[in-house]
């Protein structure tokens, strides 16, 4: 019998890289990889050459230089004596603020509209359809500009709230003596702590100790509530009777923070017209309002469609079974449909959050000084460091997006179907 092992092993030839299917894919991958690297190297080299030709160097020392410009909305302390790096931080916080509040508002709007669009009420379902189609199909920039224009053109000037000395009346009066929508900002009451416990330096900025205590009170209440619920479950498992816990929860979740607030002398300062503008309260600029509303309404329309798709993805049998058990439609939605729909909803929702965060860079259209406005706008312009600023800005947006994506993936893992 012929020995199979005697068949001569074909020796490796160069042409096999191209003609042998075992090696070909590897060859192609290596070639493409080298081409991509060469392309990147060429771009970097070209940039360096051009910088040299311009006589510019590549360094980030400008971040330590005095910024010299003012920013109207700042969440932490900043003056024009602060550095460009500090201005970057202010811009970053402004970006995060509008993105965070925008994500919350967009989610609320999206879930409501998405569910209502499936309503059996003809009028409500159609109205929601109109909302979704209008906001989804018009560019976001136009919405931002439109809402901004409505605020600046239609709202009265702060001056209109001034009481005329002769007639004793003002052209416009404040809503509940606490809110005033003007063509510059919306003045709202400012929450303050009467008992000032000082400020804590946490490296980049100062945080009010009162605020930290409040957060601590909320967290403590939350954990105590969980302990109470666990205890109730234990009793239920032991005796079959679940003790009434709602008053405990209420006390722990609401009572503790409220007690903390009262202890620290929490109250509101109301806006008051002094000189040119309202003082005392918080002046939320129109650029922020316009950006926030537009981002929320625009992204909300997309989220509504995602929610609708998620709900429709749950088979009809689920709701029929719930109805058969005697659950009312609202409870069916809350207890049966939505928890299952979340599995479908979360992944596309992540990309909507990312979109909203990145879209917030349209702030420049209304002069809201976010990261794009400070680092990518004024700092870039005053220092002339285009490359550094733009690269840094890209890096920061990338980091924010990856963090959001990571957090949402963790949440997704917790709601997705567990296979045991």
């Amino acid at each position: 019998m012929a020995n199979v092992a005697d068949v001569p092993k074909p020796s490796f030839r160069l042409s096999m890289l191209l003609y042998d299917t075992r090696y070909r894919s590897l060859t192609i991958q290596i070639v493409v990889f080298l081409l991509v690297m060469a392309g990147a190297a060429w771009l970097v080299d070209n940039t360096i050459r051009n910088l040299q030709a311009l006589g510019k160097d590549f360094n980030f020392s400008f971040l330590g230089a005095r910024a010299g410009y003012d920013i109207s909305q700042r969440l932490v302390e900043y003056t024009n004596d602060s550095t460009h790096g500090r201005a970057l931080l202010i811009g970053l916080l402004n970006t995060l603020l509008v993105a965070f509040l925008g994500c919350i508002a967009a989610t609320v709007i999206g879930v409501l509209v998405g569910v209502l669009r499936l309503s059996k009420n003809w009028l409500i379902a159609r109205l929601m359809t109109v909302y979704v189609e209008i906001f989804r199909n018009i560019p976001l920039l136009l919405w931002i500009l439109l809402i901004y224009a409505v605020f600046t053109e239609a709202a009265p000037a702060p001056n209109a709230f001034r009481v005329n000395a002769e007639t004793g009346e003002a052209a416009t009066s404040m809503f509940l003596d606490a809110f005033a929508v003007t063509n510059r900002y919306t003045a709202i009451p400012n929450p303050v702590f009467g008992l000032d416990l000082g400020w804590l330096n946490i490296g980049l900025f100062y945080v009010s100790v009162d605020f930290l205590l409040l957060v601590a009170a909320i967290v403590v209440g939350f954990f105590l509530n969980r302990m109470a619920l666990r205890r109730a479950t234990r009793i239920q498992e032991a005796t079959g009777d679940r003790p009434t816990t709602w008053w405990q929860s209420l006390l722990l979740l609401v009572g503790i923070p409220v007690a903390a607030l009262i202890a620290m002398g929490f109250h509101f300062e109301f806006p008051e017209l002094k000189g040119f503008n309202f003082t005392g309260g918080l002046n939320v600029s129109n650029s922020f309002m316009a950006l926030w509303l537009a981002l929320s309404l625009y992204t909300g329309a997309f989220i509504a469609e995602i929610v609708r798709a998620g709900v429709l993805a749950i088979s009809k049998g689920q709701s029929e079974a719930a109805f058969a058990l005697g659950l009312r439609p609202a409870r069916t939605m809350n207890l049966v449909i939505l928890p299952q729909a979340l599995r479908v909803i979360i992944p596309p929702l992540i990309s909507q959050y990312l979109n909203l965060t990145k879209n917030s860079s349209l702030a420049i259209a209304v002069g809201y000084l976010d990261l794009r406005g400070t680092l990518g706008g004024i700092t870039l312009n005053q220092t002339g460091r285009e490359l550094e600023c733009v690269l840094l800005m890209m890096l920061i947006y990338l980091t924010i997006s990856l963090i959001i994506s990571g957090l949402m993936n963790v949440y997704n893992a917790s709601v997705k179907l567990k296979e045991r």
Binding site: L43, N46, T47, R49, N50, L51, Q52, A53, L54, G55, K56, G68, Y69, D70, I71, S72, T79, N80, D81, T152, E153, A157, N159, N183, R184, K274, G275, F276, N277, T279, N283, N286, S287, I364, G367, L369, G373, G377, I378, L380, N381, Q382, T383, G384, E386, L387, C389, V390
Partner: protein, 338 residues
């Protein structure tokens, strides 16, 4: 140029000047057109009319350079730039020169790698407010909301001035002068601040200019002038001396009307040198003898341009003030043509 387009996309900022050859003069001649960066619209300084033809004080400088270099004042492509994009546009080679009421400062001249070739308007930053506000001095602007063009020197001056005077204010950042006008007119800010000439120009474009006043405080020095890229001395010379030719022409009484006659019969050798009837100054810059004559021929000398675009007879109504000839008590002083 393909290379530079690619890189420009990469860096967004378009740092492609390395690909722009150093010889701007050759580029302009080869293209047959001068790319001139101007503002996005400032009445009297640079504004397109209903037919899209640009005119104004800054535009006149561009046209004079085009006439000197290409022999045709209409061979200019005007590129509107904002306060934010102007220097990038120049550095990347998108425009050959800037004539866009830009302030000559140390860091722009050195760090931004620009060359300011002179001053065509001596300006200072001021404030405009509505008359019914009852404000007569900038020092009464405590707590005011102030509209300001972002990416400008005015932004920094404003911060400095309010700090020095211990006043508070809320800045409202805007991108272009048009946006500033609209915000100010809508009452979104109490005061609008920019160069005093810009304020006069903005006020002139309002339907009710009499209801607005420009406050007396001038809080900064703003020498406005044309700028070119650093490193091309020949091109810088051409733009510099075209501007100087316009200024010198006024000093020597050379106008668009009498220049032919003066070139032939003027007793003043400097006038003859300026107009190319004697010597060959133009050739030294890489142009020809008649360059200055063509530049002056477009819209006349500095004084004629000033009077026609922003002078007292126009709606903008700016007095010559600092921008009078040195012989008239102003600061305009062209070096000798020799």
């Amino acid at each position: 140029m393909k290379k530079s387009a690619f890189l420009g996309t990469l860096t967004v900022a378009g740092l492609a000047a390395g690909m722009v050859s150093a010889a701007t003069l050759d580029d302009v001649k080869a293209r047959g057109e001068l790319n001139c960066g101007v503002s996005t619209g400032l009445t009297g300084f640079s504004l397109p009319d209903a037919n899209g033809v640009w005119s104004g004080f800054d535009v006149a400088i561009c046209r004079a350079v085009a006439a000197a270099v290409l022999g045709d004042a209409t061979k200019v492509k005007f590129v509107p730039t904002t306060g934010q994009t102007r220097f990038t546009a120049l550095a990347s080679g998108e425009v050959d020169m800037l004539a866009r009421n830009s302030t000559w400062t140390f860091s722009r001249d050195t760090d931004l790698k620009l060359d300011f070739v002179g001053v065509n308007y001596y300006d200072g930053q001021g404030f405009m407010v509505r008359k019914d506000l009852g404000v007569t001095s900038a020092k009464e602007l405590e707590g005011a909301t102030i509209c300001i063009q972002t990416g400008t020197t005015t932004e920094l001056n404003l911060a400095d001035w309010f700090k020095t005077n211990n006043l508070n204010y809320t800045p409202v950042a805007i991108e272009t002068n048009a946006e500033g006008e609209q915000q100010y007119a809508a009452g979104a800010c109490d005061a609008y601040t920019t160069d005093a000439s810009g304020l006069a120009s903005t006020r002139a474009s309002f339907a009710d200019p009499e209801n607005h006043i420009i406050l007396p405080e001038i809080i900064s020095k703003e020498p406005l002038g044309p700028a070119v890229r650093h490193g091309d001395n020949q091109w810088a010379d051409i733009v510099r001396w075209t501007l100087n030719a316009l200024i010198a022409a006024e000093e020597y009484g050379v106008t668009s009307a009498n220049m032919e006659e003066l070139a032939a019969n003027s007793p003043n050798p400097e006038v003859k040198r300026l107009l190319g009837a004697e010597g060959d100054l133009g050739v030294m810059t890489g142009l020809d003898k008649d360059w200055a004559k063509r530049a002056i021929g477009v819209a006349g000398n500095y004084g004629e341009i000033f009077a026609a675009t922003i002078g007292e007879a126009t709606p903008i109504g700016l007095a010559r003030g600092l921008n009078a000839q040195w012989t008239q008590g102003g600061l305009l002083y062209a070096p000798p043509f020799r």
